[in-house]
Subunit: 459 residues, 4 copies
């Protein structure tokens, strides 16, 4: 294993997205690598020993010995021991035990079951990862989006529904949608992460073993988990009830969906014919191996693609809600893939953040695209104002004028303002109302104010 | 359509699970049928007119006219109109308009877009369904489980991990796991249902049209939605941000997973060799078309199967998080399937409730199964007590004795208590500790107390 | 039930997509409705009785009696009987039995188990649906595409990769991709449909009961299934091995993915800025309830959306591959949803066919979009021809020229043809080669020929 | 990267299941690692150069130079170059180019696009992996199952439906179901693997560039791919039509489902109460960190769990069927995870094979479990024989007797054979027929013959 070539990996996370990036490595490895898993499991053993000493079940010296030994456990020795005895937590226990005195040996893992250690270690490391790495990354992304939204809060953009030009908005307003959605999800992730639960309740959750030694096993459990910064599950089988983790991963997957939506939007706005935004392009960067002129939205494509690889894995998490009786182990392997979901969102958020930071916004394209539909955009306020001035069938009338405008390739506004049937109604329009029909670029509602409001809320 | 034979349906919900069951029909139809969808959309139009009148944009008489006309709209006329003009909300609007005075016509759907109506109607009816039908049903199920848990809180059961006999628990404790998990999820569903959002923000979410007529469109929106009992989305495109619904459906799907787990547990406890529980069996009921003696766990199988049909649909909901720009309509059909997810959980909860109400618990089987492993169960407390009395390698020693016991087919306890190496340690055991090794049925920790605590919390 | 209002359905298939469309109803109801399910089950009972008579186990008169009675069984009476006895196939058997003589009664369902009937009926009706309805519909769609491809085989279109203009193709060539993909999948669906298997092998698949009466139960099984037009499973438990159905549904879902891809392509080509194609629009059709000028790609959106609702259901089919021991019934409900997958592909194919039939292709937009990138397109052939004429670093050189062209907003070709470093190489170009650099619209490879070849293959 | 600690990986495949197992490493690394990806891409460049030389477009010396340089390309240098220029295939091309003469440089990657290389390399390596590693592994598993089936073809087992005792079979017959299912799927996988396609058709699939240099670009493409042992796609965009890979992965996922079913069956047969089979247990192996007596079915749990982690990924493959226009790159990351699906099936098959090889079958448990239901099993043949002897309502009559037998806790056969109403019918039974009612262990149909037939077919 010492000579394992990283390119012999088969996970693209390991050989490409995570393993080769120092910044991401620093944010992910301490929590989600297998090294981290072993370290957190050792931490649970240390917390247990500490509370055993506090309760007078063992001496403080013993607890210190265990803490000392646990700190130096290496994954390779645990794996070597597991190869021998085919049990991963017993392997960890053996590795700790061999470095403590005979007197201390019995108190390593005392009265607990493997999944007391595994469940609690996973809850603690996932929570720590989310709080210390993922949420800061998502917050950075959101601040980048907030800056962009504010800067472009008054930049006119044609709103698009069904991919068709609809009514005007501002580009900042379009981006502020994501500020609100991501901001909201960051809150949810934070709440569900802090609600990840551990357990020290024994092999079937009844505190059977622990009850031999303490009168208040639930209090004991709470004390141990407090050392790890996590609350206990209100009731457990051999494992913590699945929903705490399921909820947290849902929030992560749902947040990923928002990033995928943003990626799609920006990809399409970068289309050759639209060209309202562009990913910046390095001086040495090659767009295509054969088409030297290409400037591809590869970061947005990458984010969308990571989402496609990750989202379906929520099904694995839902499947793992089912564990027979006091638990079966049919999540032995599947639960090991959960850290990949967490890591991939961070990788995608980081990529998105960098792409947004350097996003070029082409205001002339924005104006150009708006101008294409300028005339037709007047249709909506016109129909509404006609209705408000008591035209009995304004929507249908305006629809007919748009059809004629298209057939005759004439400006809709000209036709409408010259229409004899409409004349008596148009007379009643205020100057401001007529102005809006003539200048549909002013028909942007409260886009700029709303953008500012949302940005302020999440800043 | 008038002559549509229900058995010509292709959805098993329509021809079998929902459509033929009066109780379920009453709980589901008013919210999740297409009739209900049209009625709720009409309600949004009524709410809109009411607030227009409150604001003085139209008269109260007009609002009343619209309310009157909207109340009597029938889905068949809306669909007939849609067949003509190919637009469902404009069809609804036309159906209302044709029954109001010319003066009132312009104020039907005034300044709103289709998805103001659809998003708000869906949020309102899904919330109403969850609050009025789904949560009461889940609560009834949970109360049935609470009664069962309490009744069986001291009933000895062998705990099972990996399908293997592990340590003793009580049957009530096993059931209390589900009380806590379902109770927790009911709370989550309630929270996410009440956070479903509507919108009255126009075609691209910028309040473009509304701003022509009111100075405070956000306040206007809030007033309309208040009529429907739902809050507004903090910012919208043409549609409400997807995550409010995504979160609610996640909670529903996750709750379904708990029921599936319970169903699996009970199916397996009903296995011929285990036989600790049984679904009650009607006098006329046929177990098998060819094996007259069969008593099959068909309710539990049905619940598991409904979950298998439903859970993957969460992926559709995740896919629908993505909508391009100010929205595309690639959720036009997929979003119409969302009510099926809600309905199916109610159907499954109802089925589970009825099965649990009549669940027969066979205490003699429970005892019999426990007795099979009685001897071996003593292994854990023995190893722990040896460790606590400073045996340096208690786990390994006890493991060896179990192997010998299995090879020699001798009671483990006899071998252990007679073991020479163990003798000096056993001498140090208290009478109570020795008693536990000899009577492992007492080795149930705090199962009964925990069961009571959980039941009290969720009652 | 007689008074069931179709709008009280909750499945959008029943109240909207299938139930209200006479053409689709005729294609789907005879195979996939619950009425059809009961009829096909009755057919299996008839086939069984016929072979029993052929074997002399009962008389021909008895078989005729059973056939007569089975023909007239109505789903409502079967369901009423099932309500009483809680077993669907025994209910069917009772309904047949009550209309035959006492002498014939024992031979109804003789020696078979429920799933002999259900598995065989499902295999037969799914096969019949695919062969008689689905494949003809898919073929019609493909012929529509073939006609479109041929018509537009020489129509210049700018090829797009990453949403960016790349190299020229023809629009017919773009469509021919789908001709080939759909054609290929039609073949696969046909093969897997004809490989759907039935069984007459009894309650645990060992022919236990049948062996009491016939010496060659496998031959007997084959004869019964021959009456239904399907082959037997090579070995069965209570049910047919799952993979025959799983494979067929995979082919259906995979074909659906191709339609979704086509729908996405056409949606995007209909974008306001691209406008190369358009869904035709009825005279009375309303594009938007509030924006009268909108022309939305609603058919393509609908097809994509139906795919989003359907594709994840493949996971249910994969989950149903697992059935414990000689079978559990946790597919009782989930398998009832399988017909929806089949029906929905037909609905989508029908919708797509109609949209393609009336698709408007805007050649001026196609030309306009091509012209936007005309200059840059010359980059690839230039770099390749330079390389072929021994320029040592043609790709990098051309890339630099494109950057300069963009910065200076000068035509790439002018810069390139005037480049001093390139001059010695350009001199070596043949007239035809230089012509291609100057007229990149000719740089379409063999698009037209390939289109014709593919269309010919699948016509 | 040189110092990358394997335990810093986050993929459990890399740090646990694949990376640490020499046997699996040897079977997987040469095809599915990133090293292999680069090597196969280099092979495509070599094949291209070779055919260019055969066609006289470059010299043989140049092709040899390129082959020599390509052979020595290392992933780390390709990645270093990609870091610089942000394009992976151009990076590979540069790495080859820098080790050939100036004269040869232009012919590296000549006239092709990145995805000519990537698609073809992936098709070739996936095919090679399946043919050289996966199918042999699956065949070994199936031979192990065949041996088990044959050995136990006459071993009586109670068949179970709904987890309930049903009718007798043999254990070999139960296992032969998997022989047939796996055998069938191995054939499918082999067919779909050999139908994986490559392409050398350029940036938009129209052979635009290639047509500058050869008259028959389709023949040229075929020649290049022949070097790699794969056929060309009949038509391509920038990429090969998705369905070839989608079909192959479906077959892999579907095969995995069969293994998951087998794992579940064996897990349950190992339950403490059933105990018909057992995973063998190493002498040093620890069953539980706290319950020394446990013998857990960890291999079967692991296989089921790997399936749960893998199966949902099929959704990613279905999502990747959609690529806009001549392709978007939203499969850039997701397609990199496809090799994990292939690798994981091999890992699971290997684990299953080893567990089956050492599976202990407990014939006394099998007999004991059968004996539990021995009496009731007679119900089916009795009812059928009664019916055949013209009892008018045999099923209902026998059902009633079973209920009485259960209530009175009397043997069913005693009650039935003594029943006065049945007496006249029983008199007509042949000796053999009566014998079967009395000895239901003989009621196993043709289980043994069928087992032998299936084993012979797949051996």
């Amino acid at each position: 294993m010492a000579s394992f070539d990283p390119f012999d990996s088969i996970s693209p996370l390991d050989y490409r997205y995570y393993g080769r990036n120092k910044d991401l490595f620093t944010k992910i490895q301490p929590f989600l690598s297998e090294t981290a898993a072993v370290q957190y499991q050792a931490k649970v053993e240390v917390a247990l020993a500490k509370v055993l000493a506090q309760r007078g079940i063992c001496t403080k010296k013993i607890a210190d010995e265990i803490a000392q030994a646990a700190q130096h456990v290496k994954p390779e020795e645990v794996y070597a021991e597991e190869d021998r005895i085919k049990h991963n937590i017993r392997a960890l226990v053996n590795c700790i035990r061999k470095n403590v005195s005979d007197e201390a040996k019995p108190y390593v893992h005392f009265s607990t079951t493997s999944h007391d250690i595994i469940c609690s270690a996973d809850a603690a490391r996932f929570k720590d990862f989310i709080v210390q790495s993922l949420i800061p990354e998502l917050n950075q992304l959101n601040h980048t989006l907030i800056a962009l939204s504010r800067r472009e809060k008054a930049t006119l953009q044609i709103g698009r529904t069904h991919g068709q030009h609809a009514e005007p908005i501002t580009f900042g307003f379009a981006m502020a949608q994501y500020v609100a959605r991501i901001g909201h999800k960051i809150q949810d992730i934070s709440v569900s992460a802090k609600d990840l639960r551990g357990k020290i309740a024994g092999a079937v959750g009844g505190y059977n073993a622990l009850s031999l030694f303490v009168n208040d096993p639930e209090a004991f459990e709470k004390e141990v988990l407090l050392e790890l910064g996590i609350p206990p599950s209100p009731i457990s089988t051999q494992v913590v009830a699945a929903e705490y983790l399921t909820d947290a991963i849902h929030d992560v997957v749902s947040c990923f969906g928002i990033l995928a939506n943003l990626a799609d939007d920006l990809r399409h706005l970068q289309r050759s014919e639209i060209a309202e935004v562009g990913e910046s392009f390095g001086k040495e960067q090659v767009g295509s191996s054969t088409m030297p002129h290409k400037r591809n939205p590869i970061s947005f494509e990458n984010v969308k693609s990571l989402w496609k690889a990750t989202m379906p894995r929520m099904m694995t998490v839902y499947l793992d809600q089912i564990s027979e009786h006091q638990r079966d182990l049919t999540n032995s392997a599947s639960s090991r893939f959960v850290p990949e979901i967490l890591a991939t969102l961070l990788i995608a958020a980081n990529r998105m953040k960098k792409a947004i930071e350097k996003l070029s916004v082409d205001r002339s394209s924005l104006q150009h695209n708006f101008d294409q539909s300028k005339d037709m955009i007047a249709a909506e306020p016109l129909y509404l104002l006609l209705a408000a001035h008591h035209h009995p069938d304004a929507h249908e009338k305006v629809r007919q004028v748009t059809l004629i405008a298209q057939q005759k390739k004439r400006p809709f506004q000209d036709l409408a303002l010259a229409d004899k049937e409409l004349a008596p109604y148009l007379k009643k329009f205020s100057k401001q109302q007529l102005d809006l029909v003539k200048h549909p670029e002013k028909y942007v509602g409260i886009c700029a104010q709303k953008t500012e409001k949302i940005c302020k809320q999440w800043d």
